[in-house]
């Protein structure tokens, strides 16, 4: 579904250059649940951003459903993200002044679509927040915040969920819950790519992608 070919990414920080990715070849298959692991600074987030067309590789190519996104405009990439990709972040990034329901509906704004009440309700139920749709994020637990973020990632019916340490800020019980939700989504056909430091969770994925020093370990 998404293929990275000889992807390299170099960041410049003042005089220093950081080779965040050094020739990554990787294929994410449709319907799989892949965990990305590796030490801090290995390039996991960079990889996720490139897979998610949020960042572009310095060298190499990204193919989405067989089509290279090389040279695509920001507008085209934005549209691809909006329609096919759901992002989940470690810090949740919910909008504090909006209710759970409105946070879930946020991506619809950028499609100029009216929020479909039934769909929002269904998603809230799917992540176990049916009784908290009118709450603001501040009234939620960390686990509930992340579940809101997952529902938000799903509202545009993406093909793949990219989660960057989604359980990084959660205790083990809540981590389990988040993992179970992602696993359930995967069972119903969604592709999931999840960065995690939690070896337990990684072990339960279909596949583990180990990153070290900007390279995929065999």
């Amino acid at each position: 579904m998404i293929r990275l070919q000889k992807v390299e990414k170099i960041y410049r920080r003042g005089a220093e250059t950081v080779r965040a990715l050094r020739g990554v070849d990787l294929e994410i298959h449709s319907g799989e649940f892949a965990a990305v692991t590796g030490p801090s600074g290995a390039g996991k987030t960079t990889l996720l951003h490139i897979v998610g067309c949020l960042d572009t590789p310095g060298r190499g190519e990204v193919l989405f459903d067989g089509v290279s996104v090389d040279g695509w405009t920001d507008k085209k990439l934005t549209r691809l993200r909006r329609e096919k990709i759901g992002f989940v972040f470690q810090q949740f990034y919910l909008i504090p002044g909006l209710s759970v329901a409105d946070n879930i509906a946020l991506p619809l704004l950028f499609r100029k679509q009216k929020p479909d009440k039934d769909r929002i309700a269904t998603l809230a139920r799917m992540v176990g927040l049916e009784n908290r749709t009118r709450h603001v994020p501040a009234a939620l637990s960390g686990g509930e915040m992340q579940r809101t973020a997952i529902a938000r990632a799903l509202v545009n019916r993406p093909e793949i969920i990219l989660a960057d340490e989604p359980t990084g800020n959660l205790d083990s019980k809540n981590s389990e819950k988040i993992f179970d939700i992602l696993k359930g989504l995967n069972r119903s056909g969604l592709t999931v790519l999840m960065i995690t430091h939690n070896a337990n969770l990684a072990a339960r994925a279909d596949r583990i992608i180990r990153i070290k020093d900007g390279m995929v370990e065999a």
């Binding site: 949020l54 934005t78 992002f87 972040f89 990034y93 950028f110 938000r152 990632a153």
Partner: protein
């Protein structure tokens, strides 16, 4: 409420104090702008109304008092010079003059009341023609020893129709027959007296500070004026048009000054808006990065920020209009004290179209101020903003 609107509203609510202060800045500017503009309209309309209301075509005054004339014609300021006794007859005899009425304005000590009265000596029977807009409680004076009082004179001294007033050197008592309803102008400060009595008290028989003239045929005004000026020495003739001009000139400079103040206030308010929105953008860098990641285009971000700016300036502007409307009596009272001349009647009338114009103007400027922060926001790099 649409989603984008909700987003904008909740963002403004996130920093209530900051939003409130920013709105207040814009509000104050709009209040001043609106007040100045509506005052301006009211002033011009009032001036025209009043000049029409005098029913006179021009004034004959002693030469060399041009500036006081404007005030005199409309409200009877005290002019320190008198017309020669024969002038009134000369004017009356002139061809084309249908009516010439002498006016004698003077200060008169009133030891009984412990004050100095402003006397407006006039043919009292002419008052309804000279001041057609007046409303009277009681009656116009019918006899020589009867007086009509301006609103403030009556109010401050607790005088009611039927009361008597004495002046030194005059036998007998003047009886107040009526009070003029409040005009909001200098008219409120005068005591209107039969001109012959005023002349007697001032020991200036036949004297007048001015002669108001009405023509049989206004088209021949120029001709009549030239005739009078060549035949009668020591006079000057001021037409209503000239009065209008001289009053307008004073008003115009006052207006441009206050308009400048309003614009400066608006610029300061706008800088406040820019600052507030810019701060809001920087604080929300991560959030904006997230929105870009989940599918917001640069244009979406730009619009969100601009919507916020529009909302801020619109609410501020509307608040400004409300402030101006609520404070209009206060403002009007203040302006009346500082302006050399003010027409009677209410100057600050609420005009919805003008109010809308002011709000729209503030919004336009506010939106311009929002462009830079909005553009900044739209350039936020999502990967910089949301480092995982």
């Amino acid at each position: 409420m649409s989603g984008l609107m909700k987003l904008a509203v909740q963002n403004l609510f996130r920093h209530r104090t900051r939003s409130l202060l920013t709105m207040l800045g814009i509000g104050a500017a709009v209040a001043v702008l609106f007040s100045v503009l509506s005052f301006n309209r009211g002033f011009e309309a009032g001036l025209e109304r009043e000049l029409k209301g005098t029913g006179l075509h021009f004034m004959v005054v002693p030469s060399g008092c041009a500036h006081e004339v404007a005030a005199l014609v409309l409200h009877g300021a005290v002019i320190p010079k008198f017309l020669e006794a024969g002038v009134i007859d000369d004017v009356n005899r002139a061809e084309g003059v249908s009516l010439a009425t002498p006016i004698l304005v003077a200060q008169m000590p009133n030891p009984q009341g412990g004050r100095i009265d402003l006397i407006y000596g006039v043919e009292t029977a002419m008052l309804p023609d000279i001041k057609p807009d007046w409303e009277i409680t009681g009656a116009y004076p019918a006899a020589a020893n009867e007086l009509l009082l301006g609103y403030n004179v009556a109010l401050h001294n607790g005088i009611t129709p039927g009361d008597g007033i004495r002046y030194p050197g005059v036998e007998g008592v003047f009886t107040v027959t009526g009070i003029v309803a409040q005009t909001g102008s200098q008219d409120d400060a005068f005591i209107y007296m039969d001109i012959r009595e005023a002349q007697a008290i001032l020991q200036h028989p036949g004297g007048a500070t001015a002669v108001g003239v009405k023509l049989t045929d206004p088209v021949r005004m120029q001709e009549v004026i030239e005739g009078l000026e060549s035949r009668v020495p020591g006079i000057q003739i001021v037409t209503m048009g000239q009065v209008m001009n001289s009053v307008s000139t004073v008003a115009a400079s006052a207006r441009s000054l206050s308009l400048a103040v309003a614009l400066v206030a608006l610029i300061i308010g706008t800088v406040g808006v820019m600052n507030a929105i810019l701060m809001a953008v920087f604080e929300r860098t991560q959030e904006i990065g997230m929105m870009r990641a989940i599918g917001a285009s640069r244009w979406d971000i730009f619009r969100i920020i601009l919507k916020e700016t529009a909302l801020l300036t619109m609410v501020g502007g509307i608040a400004g209009i409300l402030i101006a409307a609520a404070g209009s009596t206060l403002i009007e009272g203040f302006v009346r004290r500082v302006m050399p001349y003010m027409p009677t009647g209410e100057m600050l009338r609420f005009e919805p179209l003008l109010a809308m114009g002011c709000v729209l103007f503030a919004m336009t400027i506010g939106l311009l101020a929002g462009f830079y922060p909005a553009w900044k926001a739209s350039r936020i790099n999502p990967i910089e903003a949301i480092k995982g």
